[in-house]
């Protein structure tokens, strides 16, 4: 994989065991400290609302699924008499809610918001990777006039603060009836992601030797066939890495989402901070919503992060 990993145990550049131990200890100390806030979030998801805001903060508590129930439902407070008059609670979550003199009034908006995040996230990722692959291939293999300027132009579109971009986009989308729609958000996120995708993928495609394609061309393949059968199979890991980066951006994006969506197309990030319980934010429910996607992303990413993050600048 890397140059360092290829060296044998006898290599003279291999660190001594003592150095390794010290390095390891320092990294582990940093990792443990850095992970504590995330652990606190993960743990808060299983606290009751009063435990989550206990004074002083509670480390030991009775775990409960209230946070998840609150995340997925809307509840109303009722008098004890009213609740006594109801037929007995049949499900575990009904019982959990009634302990607090509440009844479930219906599902919360979290599922539609989650679906919005999925549709917008995957839709824009697919488009950005598709457009990005084509453009990156062209920049990598053909002589395009002003290629360097075009590439810088493509990258420079990321330098605008999102709040600044949102002003004209807001006006434009109002005219085109695209505010608060899936189409509008997918187009916007695609435009933001495609610049990253072109740069990343160009790095990956540059590394695939041209000889393979040229051999295929000599054998009578058309350019498009050569792209499909020779280049794409070799670029698969690069494309996967790019896709994950685009997905993380779309999934986590906040500024555009909060300024350009209000209901129908709202994604998770603007929604989560406004999960309100009685007397302020419902922290267990917020924590439950926060921790949902993180594990997934990290597992997907592990192998690809290093190359992806440097625009594919790392050579094998």
């Amino acid at each position: 994989m890397t140059a360092a990993a290829n060296t044998t145990a006898h290599s003279i550049v291999e660190a001594s065991p003592r150095v390794k131990t010290v390095a390891g200890a320092l990294v582990i100390i940093y990792a443990v400290v850095a992970i504590l806030p995330l652990l606190w979030i993960a743990v808060t998801a299983f606290k009751s609302q009063s435990d989550a805001i206990a004074y002083p903060p509670k480390v030991i508590f009775q775990p409960t699924l209230e946070g998840y129930v609150n995340l997925f439902t809307v509840r109303t407070r009722q008098t004890p008499d009213f609740i006594a008059g109801l037929p007995p609670a049949t499900t575990w979550y009904d019982k959990l809610v009634r302990k607090h003199d509440m009844v479930i009034a219906g599902p919360s908006k979290v599922v539609p918001r989650f679906i919005n995040s999925l549709v917008i996230g995957f839709g824009s990722t697919f488009l950005a990777v598709l457009l990005g692959t084509l453009a990156a291939y062209a920049f990598s293999r053909f002589r395009i006039p002003l290629a360097d300027d075009l590439l810088f132009f493509i990258l420079s579109t990321r330098m605008m603060p999102p709040v600044a971009v949102a002003i004209p986009i807001y006006l434009m989308y109002r005219q085109l009836n695209l505010t608060d729609t899936w189409t509008g958000m997918i187009l916007l996120y695609t435009a933001v992601n495609v610049s990253l995708a072109v740069w990343l993928l160009k790095g990956f495609i540059d590394e695939i030797p041209r000889e393979y394609e040229e051999a295929a061309l000599v054998d009578g393949y058309t350019r498009l066939q050569a792209l499909r059968k020779v280049v794409l199979p070799q670029a698969v890991t690069g494309i996967a890495a790019t896709a994950i980066f685009c997905l993380i951006f779309s999934w986590n994006e906040y500024a555009f989402a909060v300024l350009l969506t209000s209901g129908d197309a709202q994604t998770m990030p603007p929604f989560i901070p406004f999960i309100i319980g009685e007397g302020g934010q419902d922290w267990p429910a917020v924590a439950a919503a926060t921790t949902l996607p993180i594990v997934l992303f990290t597992i997907l990413l592990r192998k690809h992060l290093l190359r992806g993050i440097t625009f594919g600048a790392v050579r094998k």
Binding site: A15, V19, W40, A138, V165, I272, P273
Partner: protein, 320 residues
Amino acid sequence: MTAIIHPDASVDRIGEQTSSRVARRGRGLSDHGIAWLFVTPTIALLLAINIFPLIWMIRLSFTSLNLSMSYLPLRFVGLDNYADILSDEDLWVRLQTTAQFVISTVVLEMLIGFGLALLINRQFRSHSFWTTIILLPMMLSPAVVGNFWTLLFQPQIGPFNYVISLFTGIPPSSFSMTGEVALAPWTIVLVDTWMWAPYVMLICLAGLRSIPDYIYEAAEVDRASSWRQFWSITLPMALPFLMLAVLFRAIENFKMFDMVNLLTSGGPGSTTELVSITLKRAAFEKWRTGYSSALAIILFVTVFGAANIYVKALNRVKQR
């Protein structure tokens, strides 16, 4: 890597080789056509979603448009908006706040990120597991993280002050990380560094791994000290990557909106009001579209100009 060429292609088509050039032209698009076909959609999308709005915004920046009073006819005011902005002393303070935030975070993230990368590059046992753990904070949505840190920083119910009190003895409810003028600017730096030092670490790690082993082996043969090796091999050869990390983080933090907006929303007072937050208030709370367009243009020109100069410097370092 193995060459993946269709197996039947090499044998069956040898006879056609002489005419392949002609055949290709007959069956498909020319290279030139494909190049344009492939690049055009991306350029068209960027023109529609980035450049056209940008031009529209330039036009609006010369008007007094206010969206809460959009019934008023569009009035051109020339350079008034720009004059207002450049003579606004508050705005210079916001820019200073932003600059301080960008510089502090970039310096801290570079130090921590590069330090961690050097350590991880020692390849101690289970280093890849701990690398993954360190990466976790940057996978979350900055807005959601900013929101959650408000709980962690609560003087009485949040754990952060208790941890500090454990080490220093300062009573936990005697200070508020997000509520005090002296602390709040450091609070946003702290959270940003926590979130993005891992990102810098990754880029630095990429840089360190791009240095071929034989250079160190040669230095070892010459009995160069490890201190000397660091300054004359490691640092210069990883420098392009370090500079790339500085560029990415500086641009990102100059644009910073989401995390800080939810963590402090610019407060207390306006001690953490970064320029993006000012812009958001002008554009989407006061609806001063003309004014905020002008501000957006000024910001864009600043970043674009600075990045341009920086990229030129970066290319010079790369060519060395």
